[in-house]
Subunit: 223 residues, 2 copies
């Protein structure tokens, strides 16, 4: 049985969990807080980041969300999320990296720092300027997803792929932390409503991080 | 013919060029400075990052170094750089992400900012504190590569893989910018000497960035 080390607002863990659920792979959860990692955890992943996925019976330890997702894409046929030609897969991977690196760095990481870490760890108030800048950047990134979804059914083309999984993971964490203004983003909102209606994703939206409360629209398919 | 948009000190472009050379794929170069991108370039890659690889005759545009490397791994059989089992590939991808994200963020990005961008763009002096912190972190990361290379011939196992290509790309840029102290890192030094002796990599080491001069040991196989 797979065991996933994570915390509820980790976007990279959400990406892996969303993909595993769509592929019908079951797992148990273990809570890990990377801002106060246990020694055992650092042994498993010297990078100190979540998610880490282990299978003790087969002595397998997998780290890094993209490495984990590629692993399941290679080993589980159900619900392929990187299909098409090599050029199609390059486009899926380009957009996946866009969300994991640029959207995470511009939007999700500052929101997590200001609204989660400062609350739980530093007991400090968030910096309004940093929050406003993160929300401004979220808006710009959603202009780009609007543009893509004006031309395509899903972010990377005609079918749902790892790019959609990854985008939904990051956007859902930003939305939980009040960082998304949905007004004026009709294409992205329509796409996210379709994502929200999937049972695999609804299970993620039902979870809560201690102390931090999401906006009321957060888990509503109609928002 | 492939056309690669890059600048000489871009570690992600070096990663792609090293892989293409090992696989025997030829390309032309086009200089692009992401700190002052042309409009045409932003059209090709809205992320504004190098490398971008195009093939005009086939209307192909590829962005993101990992997406490009996976593309060539899928389409060119020569010199496989991600072979083995799915677990082996997960280890290759974990270490590749380690260098592209953690080592880049901790070491290469601050060195590029302080020693290249400040010199070329801002005409300002580097911040000694930032440089010392980047070098301290480089040292810690090389303790980890020493540890890996005490147990393995190459970073991810028994053969040269994309993990070695990626590590060499980032370390070579850090070394060009004077950020690496090789003392006390015998395993990593031995591994890097083997990399430096490869004709595909020597071609990269022969190039220079305008104004910025590397240390004398930079392109020497014996250093």
């Amino acid at each position: 049985m797979w065991l996933l080390y994570q915390f509820p607002l980790c976007p990279f863990s959400r990406k892996v969990r969303f993909l595993m659920a769509e592929k019908g792979v079951t797992y148990d959860l273990e809570r890990e807080s990377p801002w106060a990692p246990r020694d055992d955890f650092m042994q498993m992943n010297p990078a100190g980041t979540t998610p880490v996925l282990t299978d003790a019976t087969r002595s397998i330890t997998l780290c890094d969300s993209q490495a984990i997702c590629e692993y399941f894409e290679e080993t589980v046929d159900q619900f392929p999320l990187m299909s098409g030609s090599p050029v199609d897969r390059a486009e899926i991977r380009r957009l996946t990296a866009w969300f994991d690196q640029i959207v995470f760095g511009d939007v999700v990481a500052p929101l997590l720092h200001e609204r989660m870490k400062k609350r739980l760890v530093h007991r400090a108030a968030p910096d309004g300027g940093v929050l406003r800048e993160a929300m401004r950047r979220a808006n710009t990134h959603m202009d780009y997803t609007d543009y893509l979804l004006d031309h395509r059914s899903w972010l990377a083309g005609g079918t749902m792929t790892l790019a959609d999984i990854t985008a939904a993971a990051h956007i859902s964490v930003a939305d939980y932390l009040g960082g998304i203004d949905w007004q004026g983003h009709r294409p992205t909102k329509r796409w996210y409503a379709a994502i929200k209606s999937r049972p695999s994703f609804r299970a993620l939206l039902a979870e809560r991080m201690e102390v931090i409360i999401p906006p009321t629209h957060y888990d509503q398919p109609d928002f």
